[in-house]
Symmetry: C2
Subunit: 292 residues, 2 copies
């Protein structure tokens, strides 16, 4: 089903690359153009995920003017840097959608840059990703069954965005930027930070125990450690960007987490079997309700 004529995707990493592949697969657009670094552009062209690519600002300006649907699949920081150029060349009938993991700061900048034309913008955040970086982590089926949160946006644009993502196999759910950022600080940004912390703690442990201990490590790790820290292999640049873009919500989530760790630590310090078992019991019970 063709939803637009000229789809322009800024960023051909895991998300942007997957949007391109899926848009081609489902024939969502008559033409797909990608704007990205040379390596991702080449990979996307080879995979026929895009019909054409552009890499200079001048080419990008032309591509924006030609597009009726523009997707910003870039880190928050780069989205913000690119907004003035996008605003300058965006057609008045075009739709502008982002795919950022953080919504409040993007929405503030959209309003500051686009003013009344902010109503051309609709926010989206696909809850999908890869521990691989760049186009090599992109897959046409990345959004199959995945949730995409939508908002902010006007009702007609929310509807357009819903059709867009559902056409790629996703489920959608509208929420405010504030609710979105608080929720994903807790269920995504915090767990990533904790996984980075667990791996850095192991590095510190290995440093204290010498080179032989460090070398033996890979063979000594169980599935539990590997599964619970797989997201620590994610892109440091992307996660620096997300963590700082959602700073206050993430710090609030960190506080809640540290309180829970403090409770667990106190129970262990005091050899308080009853309290410890109660804490682990609630966690285990609650975790079982979360599996889909």
């Amino acid at each position: 089903m063709t939803l637009c004529n000229r789809l322009l995707i800024l960023g051909l990493g895991v998300i942007g690359g997957s949007v391109a592949l899926a848009a081609k697969h489902y024939a969502l657009a008559r033409e797909v153009t990608g704007f990205a670094q040379a390596e991702d552009c080449q990979a996307a062209l080879r995979s026929q995920a895009v019909d054409r690519v552009c890499s200079s600002d001048a080419e990008l300006a032309v591509a924006i003017e030609a597009a009726d649907f523009v997707v910003l699949a870039l880190p928050v920081k780069i989205v913000i840097e690119r907004l003035p150029l996008v605003a300058k060349h965006l057609q008045s009938n075009a739709i502008l959608m982002d795919a950022c993991s953080v919504k409040s700061v993007v929405w503030e900048k959209i309003q500051a840059t686009l003013g009344e034309r902010s109503q051309q913008y609709v926010g989206a955040h696909p809850i999908a990703g890869s521990h691989l970086s760049g186009f090599s982590g992109a897959r046409a089926d990345l959004f199959q069954g995945a949730l995409v949160t939508l908002g902010p946006g006007t009702p007609p644009l929310l509807k357009r965005a819903e059709i867009f993502w559902e056409s790629l196999g996703a489920r959608t759910s509208a929420m405010s930027p504030q609710d979105h950022d608080a929720l994903y600080a807790q269920v995504s940004h915090l767990p990533h930070l904790v996984a980075f912390g667990l791996v850095n703690a192991l590095a510190e442990y290995a440093k204290q125990h010498g080179a032989a201990a460090a070398q033996a490590l890979p063979g000594q790790l169980g599935k539990g450690f590997l599964d619970s820290t797989r997201i620590a292999a994610s892109s440091p640049d992307l996660w620096t960007d997300i963590s700082l873009s959602n700073r206050s919500a993430l710090l609030a989530s960190l506080d809640i987490f540290e309180q829970q760790i403090t409770l667990l630590k106190a129970a262990i310090t005091n050899s308080d079997e009853v309290s410890l078992k109660a804490l682990l019991h609630s966690a285990s019970e609650f975790r079982r309700t979360l599996e889909r």
Copy 2:
């Protein structure tokens, strides 16, 4: 290959049940007897993982006297409770092996209870498990390719234990109780505790955000959260036991982890992009070296 005549396994949960299934599969013993709670006994008999079961102390005493290989696949606390009975009835030519996740405290109790006969004991810890509990989580191939740490034990018994576990498809590595407990506090017990903490933090967040927010949660979670907290569905009883049995090593690991979280939190609080990126970069690089 028959390694023993009468194998007795105390505990038919994930580990004990899998030892029974694998021992049958590889014909390691002429006869396998299980001692466990009624439910696991019935399930193990139905699966033909054991030839016979016993559930009373009197039956257990008889089974110990008949056994030439006794495996203690029980929580540390129960192993310690059972040691006097085991010591009383263990034959002088029999081998006693545990499968506990913690070694120092077990070894201390073995020495205190068995005295000179401690040389009949060899420690083992299979780095394998399941988020399921009881015999329902047992699998004949659970140890295929898994590491089993061995020790303490005399050289001939370490060799017997090595043959035992390698016959079930495992790799083995000998280490001292102290080294074992420090390592697995860091790579297993800490990550479990952190996963329990992440889930309890989400429960606290949900409580703060009302019933509707809590109900919507399962559909809003990404693969990252689910993978990184899957071990939080583990048995609260088992993990209370492990955490308190390895208390001092776990508290040391918790300290190292909290220092790393403090560094990450400071970088975010100060919007210090350079420091945050450096921390995430080391974690991401190190994590990539740990995947087998």
